[in-house]
Each structure stands twice: as structure tokens, then as C-alpha cells.
């Protein structure tokens, strides 16, 4: 399962809409194209928001893993 090698783990736990996607949009330009970021969030809205954000911005959500009280999202910069 753990085939991704995130270059950074971003802790967005406790943040509410719209902050998780605001923060990821600021982090994505800081990494190289093809890099994977791992986001930790506790906001259930992120499950819908991250794929929507990725679809609009052209990046990819590789996987979302739901654990109790924690959602881990793997985001790949595509361009």
C-alpha cells in the first residue's frame, strides 16, 4: 500500500474549510513536478474537496486513507 514516497507530510489537522485547500494550493508550487505530498487532515469535507481541487487545478489525488480521526491524502504535483 505504501508505495508513495511523499517529499513532505503536511499537518492540517484541526483546520476547517477552506483552509486545507488554501494551504495545499500554496504548498504545491514549492515541490517539483511529480513529487508527492502527504496531507493529514481531520476535516471530513476534505474527502470531497481534495479531488475537486485536483480536478480543477490539474493535479492528482493518488489515494485517500481514512483512519479514526485522521484522513491521509496523497497528492501528486502534475504540472
Amino acid at each position: 500500500m505504501e508505495e508513495y514516497k511523499p517529499v513532505k507530510v503536511l499537518d492540517y489537522k484541526g483546520l476547517k474549510c477552506p483552509m486545507p485547500i488554501v494551504k495545499i494550493s500554496q504548498e504545491i508550487p514549492k515541490v517539483a513536478v511529480g513529487d508527492v505530498l502527504e496531507v493529514h487532515t481531520s476535516d471530513p469535507g476534505s474527502i470531497a474537496d481534495f479531488p475537486a481541487w485536483a480536478k480543477t487545478t490539474g493535479h492528482t489525488v493518488l489515494e485517500m486513507k481514512q483512519e479514526p480521526g485522521l484522513i491521509r491524502i496523497f497528492v501528486k504535483r502534475q504540472k
Binding site: G14, K16, A52
Partner: protein, 178 residues
């Protein structure tokens, strides 16, 4: 008509189509706290999605842009009265429902803090950082007796008229009225 000509005509038509830009134009008409929060959440969210965002503050919305630390001189009686009766800045705005003489608004602000929902102050800061443009309707400001000098310090704040909004709205993929 041959194919090349047809293609050219079609391209010209597409270029003229409204809503072609990845842009959000929003009218912020309401001056209540809840609607101001909704407007800012959508604006910052759209900026995060890579959209260009232009907000047009008009009527009651303009009062939320007042800076509580700034005062403008030389106002006439009616302008002073309006200034006194309308909220002086975003943190003086109240809920559109359940305000209950301040109780409901205070409770909501407490809840927002407890649940870590971004405050209007935070949202304005994020919006400024992400390049969200704020335009204030000149006519509304004039009507309420506000001047640009008493508005908040914001990186991208301008005074405009209805044509500026319409020109932006026409080329925007999304237009909202709040």
C-alpha cells in the same frame, strides 16, 4: 464554405463566448456576518483552485470594509448618521438570523473559535495573500457617506462602478451574488 473558413469562424465565436476565463466574479451586497463569511470562504477557496477572484462590494457590504481605526473628516450630518448606524468594519457585523440582541452573534463567534473555523480577519488576510481583488462600488460608498480613506488596508482594493463588475462578470466562468 470550406473547412478552414468554417474553423476560423468557429474560433472567432469561441473567443467571443462569455464565461471563458477561469475566474470568479462575486457581488457582496449583504453586510451581515454570516454572509460575509460565506463570501470570503468561497473567494479564498476559488483562489486556492487556481481561479482569479474579483469581489465587488456594494450597498450593505461596503460597511464591512470600513477600518475601525480610521475616520474621515468633513462629513455632513446624514453621512455621520449613516456611519454611526452601520457596522464599523467586519468585526462589528451581526448575523442575518438569530442575532438575538448580540447573544446569537457572540455565540457563533465563540463556536467558530472552538471549532477552529477561520475568522473573517483570517479570511481577509488569506484573500489578500492569494491575490483576491476587492472592488468597492463608488455609488454605494457615496450614498452611505463613506470615503476610500476610511476603508481597510488591503493589497488589492479599488473603487469601481457597475461597468467594471459587468466586464469582469461577462468573462468569468462563475458569477455569484451574496
Amino acid at each position: 464554405m470550406d473547412v478552414a473558413e468554417e474553423l476560423q469562424a468557429l474560433q472567432a465565436k469561441v473567443a467571443e463566448m462569455p464565461g471563458k476565463e477561469n475566474k470568479l466574479s462575486m457581488v457582496v451586497f449583504s453586510g451581515e456576518l454570516d454572509k460575509q463569511i460565506a463570501a470570503m470562504v468561497i473567494a479564498t477557496g476559488a483562489a486556492a483552485m487556481g481561479m482569479k477572484v474579483v469581489m465587488f462590494y456594494t450597498f450593505w457590504g461596503t460597511a464591512a470594509l470600513r477600518d475601525p481605526k480610521k475616520n474621515a473628516k468633513g462629513k455632513d450630518f446624514l453621512a455621520r448618521m449613516f456611519g454611526f448606524m452601520l457596522p464599523k468594519g467586519r468585526n462589528k457585523t451581526v448575523l442575518s438570523k438569530l442575532h438575538m440582541a448580540g447573544l446569537g452573534t457572540a455565540m457563533l463567534k465563540g463556536l467558530m473559535k472552538k471549532k477552529n473555523v477561520s475568522s473573517l480577519d483570517d479570511l481577509f488576510e488569506v484573500a489578500g495573500m492569494m491575490g483576491v481583488e476587492i472592488n468597492i462600488c463608488e455609488m454605494s460608498m457615496d450614498l452611505m457617506g463613506f470615503t476610500k480613506e476610511e476603508m481597510i488596508d488591503y493589497p488589492n482594493l479599488n473603487v469601481c462602478g457597475v461597468a467594471a463588475f459587468l466586464a469582469d462578470a461577462k468573462e468569468s466562468a462563475i458569477q455569484l451574488f451574496i
